[in-house]
């Protein structure tokens, strides 16, 4: 920095320009972060709507509100939107961009223009995916996994949808390499690796997964396109190919991808819990290390999706064993969070409630994952609603609730206004109850044998399906309360200044909202991220 002004304008009104162009062509990481936030969260709401329709269809046996083809298209688009357009780009793109450079004391990411380009690629990919729904043979009906041989033969618009996912994947790779470079090169003076906030550690591990795993998805999707457009036959048993090879390639990416979804969520929880317990995090090093361990071992377990696909028994044994190993670093995190709570001075504000429910929901999801990871039990519940319940416990109850925690914890920092506390807690309670009613019921349904992705079901599943659907309504009611409260608060709520949560990471030392260059002076870091002695809050 050459000049130090006493007060710099916040990033909202620094350029003097307003309007769309000042946002969609801005290279400021905070503006890009908000662009990502509104675009990914917008797609989340679309995905919620689709999920709600799916639950209404399953409310009673037989046709309720839609036909089977529509149902197939809806669960495919629900998956594609939620996974590729919300949760994979969501954390890195929005909160990674908003918070990470400030947390390491940098002015911006290493490649600001590349950052903007990533967002544009994401939007272009999203537009292509949406276009695929209304052109050609109609929305894809393969499920988000695009399994061959169906995906290479169905008449629906799979090629275009797959190309859209390819473009979004490219965006994800560029964000990943940008973040790795940023964390290596742009840490402020004194910001050693041992002083990095755990959110940054989790983003760092995630970025490596993005860089190393996404290219495999890219080539797999190219091969599906080639299969459809050129007839290469690489996955077609009639011409010497093998559909199981597709599943291998797909899961080599898509299993690590669930760690792209959950690792940043774990980072959020590791940042929120100590702040609202007024205690330094327990086991900082182990939490940081376990992020890397999850990223590393998580890349070696893809085969557990394929226990019933026709792999050798040896392969099943090895993949099952490795899957159990991933449970260790995940459990390390859970134990450390709980130990942080022990004898802490806990205040149950909205971000903390979301974080605490994360621990519970993620643990339920993780333990049900072990039932799926053990080959003997997996055979019985494979492709049932048990899997759907498990996945949503981890990704919605885990990553989703952590996303809500991050929204309540960090968004006021960037708006300078905050939501009302009581409605936020009511919203949390509704969502927590609705969530469990819906997804726990699904797990029970799966145990009883209800298959996933089926449009119709036997009458004995009717009662539990009705319960799950009612759960989805409670969940959505809570979501609506949360949205109204949060966004009304951000634009018209009470002022949010200083450091009301009492955080010790760098973003709480700068002005609210932060200035364009993030800090008045380049910060020099003298203490760890969870050393609360200087925050002025007992």
């Amino acid at each position: 920095m050459t000049t130090v002004q006493p007060t710099q304008p916040s990033f909202w009104n620094d350029t003097g320009k307003t309007g769309l162009a000042a946002w969609i062509f801005s290279t400021d990481h905070k503006r890009i972060g908000l662009l990502y936030f509104y675009s990914t969260f917008g797609f989340f709401l679309v995905g919620v709507l689709l999920g709600l329709l799916l639950r209404i269809e399953l409310m009673a046996p037989g046709r309720t509100i839609m036909g089977p083809q529509t149902y197939n298209a809806l669960f495919t688009v629900h998956g594609v939107v939620m996974i590729f357009l919300f949760i994979i780009p969501g954390f890195q793109g929005s909160f990674g961009n908003l918070v990470m450079p400030i947390q390491i004391g940098a002015r911006d990411v290493a490649f600001p223009r590349l950052n903007l380009f990533s967002w544009w690629l994401y939007i272009i990919g999203a537009v292509i995916i949406i276009t695929s729904l209304f052109t050609g043979g109609g929305p894809p009906d393969t499920g988000w996994t695009f399994y061959v041989p169906f995906s290479s033969r169905t008449g629906t618009n799979v090629s275009l949808a797959v190309f859209g996912v390819f473009v979004v994947g490219f965006s994800s790779i560029l964000t990943g390499l940008n973040f790795i470079t940023t964390i290596h090169r742009l840490r402020a003076e004194g910001m050693t690796w041992g002083r990095l906030p755990l959110f940054v550690w989790s983003l760092y591990a995630t970025a490596w997964v993005q860089v190393l795993a996404t290219p495999i998805l890219a080539i797999t999707l190219v091969l599906v396109m080639a299969e459809r457009l050129l007839g290469t036959g690489l996955f077609d048993p009639g011409r010497g190919g093998d559909p199981v090879m597709y599943q291998h390639l797909f899961w080599i990416y898509s299993h690590p991808a669930v760690y792209i979804m959950i690792l940043p969520a774990m980072g959020v929880i590791s940042d929120v819990i100590p702040v609202f317990s007024r205690k330094p995090i327990f086991g900082y090093k182990m939490i940081a290390f376990s992020s890397i361990a999850i990223a590393a071992f998580g890349s070696l377990v893809w085969g557990h999706h394929m226990f019933t696909s026709g792999m050798s028994d040896t392969a099943i044994l090895v993949f099952s064993f490795l899957t159990f190993i991933v449970a260790i670093p995940s459990a390390i995190k859970v134990f450390n969070w709980v130990s942080t709570l022990y004898k802490g001075s806990i205040s149950l504000d909205a971000p903390m409630l979301f974080a605490l429910s994360f621990i519970l929901l993620f643990s339920i999801g993780g333990l049900s994952g072990l039932i799926l990871g053990a080959a003997a039990t997996d055979v019985h519940v494979h492709d049932t609603h048990f899997v759907v319940g498990h996945f949503h416990y981890v990704i919605f109850g885990g990553a989703g609730f952590a996303f809500f925690a991050a929204m309540h914890y960090w968004l006021p920092k960037f708006y300078g206004r905050r939501y009302a506390e009581k409605p936020a807690i009511v919203a949390w309670a509704l969502m927590f109850v609705g969530f469990n009613v819906m997804y726990f019921t699904m797990q029970v349904l799966g145990m009883k044998g209800m298959p996933r992705r089926y449009y119709d079901y036997l009458p004995e599943f009717a009662t539990l399906n009705l319960v799950a659907t009612i759960g989805s309504w409670i969940l959505v009611a809570g979501l609506i309360v949360m949205l109204v409260n949060l966004f009304r608060g951000l634009f018209r709520g009470e002022p949010f200044v200083g450091n009301p949560w009492g955080g010790a990471t760098l973003e709480w030392t700068t002005a609210t909202p932060p200035p364009t260059e993030n800090f008045e002076e380049e910060p020099v870091v003298t203490h760890g991220p969870y050393d609360f002695r200087g925050t002025g809050i007992p």
Binding site: R107, D108, G176, V211, P215, L223, T232, G233, G240, L249
Partner: protein, 198 residues
């Protein structure tokens, strides 16, 4: 306020991007190894139908181009603008020769009825069809990378000419050269796997 120029950071970013490219082709090499172990005889028979002479010439051409682009980086470091431009021109010429030979190779194969989903391959053993599908996908995607790399070098060359890339600031050329070496490296794996060892 000007942003610090961080050449080491830029190079780190480029290396990370090269990892992703390696993994992209890694998916194809994985398929190659899985199918080679399933169809060793068909792969061997199909591999002998490829033209080793063309493959060898292309290998020499690409290695030469890699040498030229490395010399271009040294030249720009020494501030020799004319020589840099000549060397970059030579690299792009090599890329053009490579693509021309590839074109001849591909069209000969297609003339003989060897292309994905062709009736000729459908009539033959399934392993052969898999081999040629992999061959066309691997060399096709590699060829696309040759085109992208050559375009990149041409663009950087225009910057060298305008003086935007020079002895004091040549990271753009260095990174583009890294990308070109990657294109070369991938071919160094494709060539023996498809032309030589079978």
């Amino acid at each position: 306020m000007s942003h610090l120029k961080d050449d080491s950071g830029a190079k780190l970013g480029m290396w990370l991007f090269l990892f992703t490219e390696l993994l992209l082709f890694g998916g194809l090499f994985l398929l190659y190894s899985a199918y080679l172990s399933r169809y060793p005889h068909e792969f061997s028979a199909a591999g002998r139908q490829l033209n080793v002479v063309f493959g060898t010439i292309n290998t020499v051409v690409l290695l030469t181009s890699s040498l030229l682009v490395a010399m271009a980086v040294t030249a720009v470091q020494r501030g020799e603008r004319r020589r840099t431009l000549w060397l970059l021109g030579g690299t792009i010429l090599c890329a053009a020769i490579f693509m021309a030979i590839k074109y001849v190779e591909w069209s000969t194969k297609i003339l003989h009825g060897i292309y994905p989903n062709s009736p000729h391959l459908a009539a033959g053993p399934p392993g052969e069809s898999v081999f040629f599908s992999l061959y066309f996908m691997s060399t096709g995607i590699h060829g696309l990378h040759v085109l992208i790399g050559a375009t990149l070098l041409a663009w950087v060359g225009s910057k060298v000419k305008r003086g935007a890339v020079h002895g004091g600031d040549y990271i753009l050329l260095e990174n583009s050269a890294l990308y070109w070496h990657l294109v070369d490296l991938i071919w160094i794996f494709i060539f023996p796997l498809y032309y030589l060892i079978l």
